[in-house]
Amino acid sequence: MSTPLLRIQDLRVQYSPAGSRGGGTIRALDGVSFDLARGEVLAIVGETGSGKTTLARALLGLHPTETVTGSIQLGGRELSGIREQEWQSIRWRRIALAVQNAGTAFDPVYTIGAQLQATVRQHLPLSRRRAVEAITHLVRSLGLDEHHLHAYPHQLSGGEKQRLMLAMALSCHPDVLIVDEPTSGQDMLSRRHIVTLLQKVQTEADLSILLITHDLAAVAQLAHRVAVLYAGKLAEIGTNREVLGRPRHPYTWALRNAYPDMGTARDLSGIRGHMPDPANPPAGCRFHPRCTQAVAECRLTEPALEHHDSRLVACHLGGLQTLLQARHLAKSFGANGHRTHASSQNGARQVVAAVKSASLEIYEGEVVALVGATGSGKTTLGKLLVGLLTPDTGTIAFQGQAITTLAGAQLVELRRRIQFVPQDPFDSVSPRLTVQQIVREPLDIQQTGNRDERNQEVHNVLESVGLPTSEAFLARYAHELSGGQLQRVVIARALVLAPKLVIADEPVSMLDASEQAKLINLLKAIQNERGMGLLVISHDLALVRKIADRILVMQGGQIIEHGPAGQIVNHPQHDYTRTLLSAAPSIDWYAKKP
């Protein structure tokens, strides 16, 4: 890709909302820069209100001149600031736009053919006959025929109009085609049709396409590069494979996780929080109120779009942070269950290696499931990660700090940030403590705040796990609670210190199916709301795939397979994973026999 066909630099669109008195300026687009090469497909993705459509209109000069600043260069020619008449010769001939609502994009009183013809003859020196021929040819190549041209807009279906809109956009052979939400509001089949069609016209004409959409599946199929727009600013830009495959910006990551996809078995969860008000964007990084890893700097200064490897990311932390990183962990026990230490190993005894060289990463705000059969070493691995066990070899880093080397106050602080929900709730609470005392215990230990503040904190956290907060309930003892209530108490205790990472070992295995479902959804909801990392250790693949972003499969003390949940569930690579999947419970009696 040599010199770019289209170069956008520091493009801003700002206007005062009509009718407001000093209501502040709306910054619909706030300093966007990117290049588009000839023959390239660049996707602009982002939620509704991120400024995608504003961008499309700015590239055609459709905003009032005084609202637009920055530079738009097409083939080296500066377009921003040119007169309306000059724009008229650029529009459609050089840059064409297939708008979002094709349903209302055609003038209802003329036939489609007449509108196409008027467009073509406005820009190309064709006789009426030649124009009709060209249009007919074009429309045929898009899988439509003449009768569509003789029809009025209201006589056609939405899908047909979408394709005719595309035909109209292509009719003057533009250099750049902007396609605004080509697939939104369409059923799956017409969606596929449009995507294939776009693919075809792009390769045939070596067209440069700016694909504006929130449809990540279409992006994955069509785009060469992807730019992520958030609240009028670019968050990340890079190749399709990089940005969608391994998102770096927390927003990209969240966007991808919110996208429904047949490959994902997980239930959907939206991105927490809401798009900021374009008239009063938050200070600092615009994403920080919704970001799971925001630090003080994010609230103060706006991050610049900077190179990270081959892509550009606008994040002070350089993108998605690794919350926990474990390298080559190993742990062995003596044959009778006595712990052995590498240093004091007794050769006479048989040594069982529970964990053998396990490596894993957990990112900010991510739900990871660690699955494996009983005895695969997953509980040991979990305890190693929390720090309840010390690894024989290997390193663990939490938020970049090597915790294997920590001690004293630093370790106490670290424990606060990683919390553990053990497997057996009955075993993990003292029968002599009341609910209030159980949940307050970590606060008492860590000496945070005064007694009232701690009790208030307990109150809040019990509420968030859906438990009653009455005096009577607070005064209950563990044996007076049901299994589900007790497990919630244990989870509440883990949450009361506001941890960054919760490691939950078989959090629901003791409960009946209904309680399991409730609790697993609760865990996911709390995780999403608090933006924390969650590692769920479980043998129940059928259950954890509902909430996990990624799945790690463990067998014989090793992680034998890992990947996005959808990939593991739908395309397992390892035989063991396949066995696990086929053994997963199913009440479908037509399902194949194991």
Partner: protein
């Protein structure tokens, strides 16, 4: 698609003068509703306190014929020596009674007919609405002239005939709103919860059409005032009720009126009063429409 088209036409039909947008213009000038309301209330005040405000009984021969304006007769006297200013003050009563009375009557009919058509639907809806279409297609003024010529025009006859002619416009609007409300889920739910029709009408339907009722009242009243003035001007009003239109009629009956200055205090004031009263109602209508019916404008 046809739905879109008809809705589009309906939108414009409903607001032929697109008052919603006029609002923008007026809000930059200054509160439309306020101006209209102040004007209108001013007329109401004059009508109520007419006996106090008017120096003479308008029917009394309080001066010589055709006096020029003076301290005794602010606007002079007419051809039989009645005080023009007092006529003007008492004329307010007639215009307001007919305007408000006919407006109320028309809106009452519109609520009953439009509400029934929209809420009950079916053949009743069809019959009522076709009846409305017919009435809309009739030329109103000749119709009124015919009726009034036949029965002789009293104030109340006029109120009733105007109300009988004016209901379809508002009824149409109310009907479509009731139809819209009827399809709302919360209304169906209310039925589902076992509420009776009266409850649903009072609790869910009426609040929706109240702004329409007020709007219909204001616009119908304005048109009724104009019609009454016109009929009186043509000599078809109640000869006993000396309205502004009738004053103009009498003035014009005087040969050569326009050739002297007399029209300045005899003809102009009632004309200005009629215009201002109608204008005040229109302005209130403009304000009401934009303030009370924001949801209706967005379709």
């Amino acid at each position: 698609m046809l739905v879109v088209a008809t809705r589009y036409v309906e939108r414009v039909l409903r607001y032929p003068f697109g008052r919603a947008d006029v609002r923008h213009v007026f809000s930059s000038i200054g509160g439309t509703t306020a101006v209209g309301l102040v004007l209108f209330l001013g007329f109401v005040f004059v009508a109520i306190f007419a006996p106090v405000l008017a120096p003479y009984n308008p029917d009394a021969f309080s001066g010589k014929p055709l006096e020029h304006p003076s301290n005794a007769h602010l606007l002079g006297t007419n051809d039989v020596g009645q005080d023009i200013f007092s006529e003007l003050v008492f004329g307010t009563q007639i215009s307001l009674i007919i305007g408000v009375g006919a407006g109320l009557g028309a809106v009452f009919l519109a609520v009953v007919i439009g509400g029934a058509a929209g809420y009950i639907g079916g053949w009743l809806d069809f019959v009522l609405m076709r009846l409305g279409d017919m009435l809309l297609a009739l030329p109103r003024l000749p119709m009124l002239i015919l009726v009034n010529a036949l029965i002789g025009a009293g104030v109340w006859q006029m109120v009733i005939t105007i109300a009988l002619l004016f209901w379809p416009t508002t009824a149409r609007i109310i009907r479509s709103e009731v139809q819209r409300v009827r399809q709302r889920t919360y209304l169906q739910l209310a039925h589902h919860f076992g509420s009776n029709r009266l409850y649903v009408l009072r609790r869910h339907v009426l609040p929706h059409i109240t702004p329409l009722i007020v709007f219909g009242l204001v616009t119908s009243a304005g048109r009724a005032v104009a019609l009454e003035a016109g009929l009186a001007f043509l000599g078809l009003g109640d000869p006993a009720a000396k309205s502004w239109g009738l004053m103009m009629r009498y003035a014009l009956n005087l040969p050569g009126l326009l050739l002297t200055d007399r029209w300045l205090w005899w003809l102009l004031p009632p004309g200005v009063c009629i215009t201002l009263l109608i204008l005040s109602l229109t302005l209130v209508g403009i304000g009401l429409e934009s303030r009370l019916m924001p949801g209706l404008r967005r379709q």
